[in-house]
Symmetry: C2
């Protein structure tokens, strides 16, 4: 049985749509996964997420490993039960956060040593531990441990890092024990297209060595190491050079991307899955998304504005609250500001992906993309 099924392939671009089946239900692609770092998508109750159209959420292994600990979550019935979310969950491997949040990190072939950003305690994250933690959480889709380099990084360092990552990925495959926890590979290679291609090729070799037993194969491929501070066009180039090399029948996931325009662009490259903190984090800072672009709700011009964020938006926030009230809440740092803004931004993202999906089904994705960019001001 295949987890992923492609339902439509756009003829003019590489865009496609499909459906992915997990042990906690299925999700339709292209899909946007909101980020629930510490076992909660910030400011949202799980029922609200579901009502807004969230099909799958992402949670962070690094955070949950440190607090409250994966063994504790396992004891309490796994992450789904712990956080009261019964839909699919994808977890990252912890690698990205080790490199962005931990106090120090030292990479060896064995794994990465780091100091917790919470209490300064020392830890060693190995590929084997990354799998152990994610299996303890009961993640539907686990990610391999990878080293995520900053931008810019020199080619030699990138190559060396890629070799370590490839070793870790193979060990992640070997460490798996749970048939109900899928595993995605991650293509690294920094901002070098030749390294990206080599990395992809090597991962495919590892994948193809696998037997029919799903534990020895990857269930999807991700592009990592983009959205790390590079000019966005460079990131796009990395995605565009990798996706044509990936197996058509498996899902493709670009990690940590992004703004609406990035997502629409990458869908055109044949990417199926996205995650990013942007809609939720921006909401907490008063930055709201509309078909015309971003709207900063704290601006003085909105102080007496009785209109909703977006007059054509059907979300709960736009149906019930004025820009003036939302501005007041944001300036007053009220919790309701985070809630109402998050509802709007997630609604915007989920609706955008749904529109993209419909456009693919109806063979008009290029027009859809053109229409999106003609309206949307970056």
């Amino acid at each position: 049985m295949e987890n992923f099924q492609i339902l439509h392939q756009d003829q003019q671009t590489q865009a496609r749509c499909g459906v992915y089946k997990t042990h906690h239900g299925e999700f339709k692609t292209p899909v946007f996964m909101p980020v629930g770092t510490q076992a909660t998508v910030k400011s949202m109750q799980p029922e609200q997420l579901k009502q807004l159209g969230a099909q799958i959420i992402l949670s962070n292994t690094y955070h949950l490993y440190l607090r409250p600990g994966h063994q504790l979550i396992k004891k309490l019935g796994g992450l789904h039960n712990f956080m009261n979310w019964q839909g699919p969950i994808l977890t990252d491997s912890g690698g990205y956060q080790v490199f962005s949040l931990a106090k120090m990190q030292k990479v060896t072939q064995e794994g990465v040593k780091f100091q917790s950003h919470l209490d300064g305690s020392y830890h060693l994250l190995t590929p084997e531990l990354a799998i152990e933690v994610q299996e303890a959480l009961g993640s539907d889709i686990m990610m391999v441990l990878d080293e995520c380099l900053p931008y810019p990084s020199e080619k030699n360092a990138t190559l060396k890092s890629m070799e370590i990552t490839l070793n870790w990925e193979e060990r992640c495959l070997q460490a798996r024990t749970r048939q109900d926890c899928d595993l995605f590979a991650i293509v690294q290679g920094g901002m070098y297209t030749d390294l990206r291609k080599i990395c992809t090729q090597r991962l495919l070799e590892i994948h193809e060595k696998g037997t029919q037993n799903s534990l020895s194969k990857f269930q999807g491929f991700a592009v990592g190491g983009v959205s790390v501070g590079e000019p966005i066009e460079l990131g796009y180039e990395m995605v565009a050079c990798v996706t044509p090399l990936l197996p058509k029948e498996l899902p493709r996931y670009v990690m940590g991307v992004g703004y609406p325009e990035d997502i629409i662009t990458c869908i055109g490259y044949g990417v199926d899955m996205f995650d990013c903190v942007i809609p939720t984090r921006c909401a907490r800072h008063g930055l709201l998304f509309t078909p015309q672009g971003k709207l900063y709700i704290r601006r003085a011009e909105f102080s007496e504005d009785s209109k909703p964020i977006d007059e054509k938006c059907s979300c709960y926030t736009c149906q019930n609250y004025s820009r003036a009230y939302l501005r007041h809440l944001s300036l007053s740092k009220e919790i309701l500001s985070a809630i109402l803004n998050t509802i709007h931004n997630l609604h915007y993202y989920f609706n955008l992906l749904e529109q993209a999906r419909l456009a693919i089904i109806e063979q008009r994705f290029s027009e859809f993309k053109k229409s999106f960019f003609s309206l949307y001001q970056k």
Copy 2:
């Protein structure tokens, strides 16, 4: 037409229950009003409040006058529309916050000069302005402007302050223009029972001078200046010496009270209305209410506890989340912690008041009170 109707009077205590009609619907007493300082009950959507059983909310004139401004709220259709709460709203006069939050304050017969805690700007709050602001907000129940002294205060100072407050209260009556905005008097007099009695008597004289025209009469009486740091028994004494002197047919409101045990005690003295930040503020700090008393969710003993806060509680939080998860959220300072804890605490408060009301109707309030105190550990 009377706004307030008493439906049951307990025979053994002064406890009673009734119903109060406003232009935004009615509420049953005894009632607890959650506090929505800045035009939002912190972390709650209005629909959640309603679902939890909130019948009337309190909002703070001081905060709304300073930000976003009462004229702005009036222009946007009043406070109910602004914050999307269509039930009754009671507003305080701003006096209490001027004395507790403003950078400086100077009381004269005319009013109180103060400096905003937000930007240091100077303002003069007079009785006339307090009414103007509350009418602009469209409050269903307005409060007179009073001076709220700290504890302890000397008797002479308390007497002098009381005289100023009485003058302000009379001027508040005269300043009213809206028939749909009720006005409650406030009994002051510090911690001196003789001053409390004199103040009550003088307010009744002002009230009785009023014609049938409701603008020249008070629609209810409040006891102010308690819960200002005094030993709680002293506060109870002030409430107990005032309530027997108040008109039986009008509602009685003790401002800023309090903990569950305070509310149950004051209901026995014949008090009908309460407000306090305790359930919402405590929720944000991890302090939860149960029939057995307070539970501090951050304690290590709850780290692996799969039980809900209270196994007999029917609230959304207790039906769906473990103590271990709530502890994790609280320690992680997640917004969902404030939301779930607030849901539980407000559910507890509304349910407690509903139980008290039922006990009064069934002529068993004394037993109810005894049973409450036998279980509840302060």
